[in-house]
Assembly symmetry: C3
Homo-oligomer: 159 residues x 3
């Protein structure tokens, strides 16, 4: 009857925060809620398709940025305790030990379950990313389109 809608603004490019966002998105879809995820700034790193890197049409800063930032889910660092990757290695091992799916699995799950993926237009421009470098189903929208979706949602989080 009153179908619930969840709107997640994913600003962070941290492995653990992206994991939290995708676990919420998967859970909400399993409960029959509709879910939109709006990726901005560092959050865009999650949506980069590692196969589709392009250095054409990039300024020198954009090339440097593209080179030093993570490419896709597996390269995201932890928000804390990263300790040059050791903390993340431990966390991933612990997730395997407890049979928890990995970040890439939750991303695939969200794609299959019909989560709507949006990328922030302004963030793409500032970071010099092309829409073609992202996963194919990602739609580029601006902040006003995000806001109109978010004010009508039942749960909105900034992650």
């Amino acid at each position: 009857m009153d179908k619930k809608h969840v709107n997640l603004l994913v600003f962070s490019g941290d492995y653990d925060k992206a994991l939290a966002a995708l676990i919420l998105a998967n859970g909400a879809r399993e409960l029959g809620m509709s879910v939109t995820m709006f990726f901005a700034f560092w959050g865009l790193m999650l949506l980069r398709d590692p196969e589709k890197m392009s250095l054409e049409d990039k300024s020198i800063y954009e090339k440097m940025f593209a080179a030093v930032t993570p490419k896709g889910p597996d390269q995201l660092p932890l928000s804390r305790m990263n300790m040059s990757g050791l903390g993340k290695y431990m966390l991933v091992e612990m997730m395997e030990d407890s049979s928890t799916p990995q970040l890439a699995d939750f991303l695939q799950g969200a794609r299959k379950k019909g989560v709507t993926f949006y990328a922030c237009k302004l963030s793409l421009e500032v970071m010099g990313l092309n829409p073609e470098e992202l996963l194919p189903e990602v739609k580029v929208i601006d902040v006003k389109e995000y806001l109109q979706d978010a004010v009508n949602a039942h749960l909105e989080l900034f992650i």
Copy 2:
């Protein structure tokens, strides 16, 4: 009449962010609002009972994790300016000078005022924490139970 409900997802294990979450929770209860706090990932560190550490049934990674992560409210670091504890020392001194209660006081206040404490089931499993290592009134729920509470709240924040 229209009783307001506040739902806080506490993902962070930082002293200052935990402080903000608990100040909001205490204030909302004083206004007669109902409050649920759902602790996930690093947020669980706040709920660890320093008296009840257990290393039994833990894998090697879980033991290392348990040893290097904070045990209870007093050990949480600042989200920034921590400077090996100096920034936090200054902040705590400044809070004392301005007669502000400390994090542990706000935690006790929230417990006495009837804030509902939830711990994320999946996070406990991944981090290898047992429910017995947490404060006694904490109830373990899964992400779907969190979502059903959150979509019906009037204020939901990811902290």
Copy 3:
């Protein structure tokens, strides 16, 4: 008819997160929504007027804090990849290349467009900041006033 209200709690003192908050605030005002921004803890750094620093009536800790924390929008660091300012320099250059306004421009825009600025009373006390050190239109309120605004908003985020 049903005018939408947006409430942003700005806890972070990071350049990129402040930018995100102000882009959202400007966009919401352009859509005719009402917007309140409540600045707490590190978020207060954005509201500091660099012309109006005062060291009077400050304790020794408060003086140290005032000296080592950012004064106004231009001094805020990035939330990640700051690399002693290099990452921020690159980001600001990239914003200029793509003709994106800077943080200070978005702050001016929000002031002109009628965003309501609130500063957290308790945070000011703890950090030893005087209301006179902030931008003139900032109103000081307590957490309960924030909560009463937030539970009646259509979109509330913790940034």
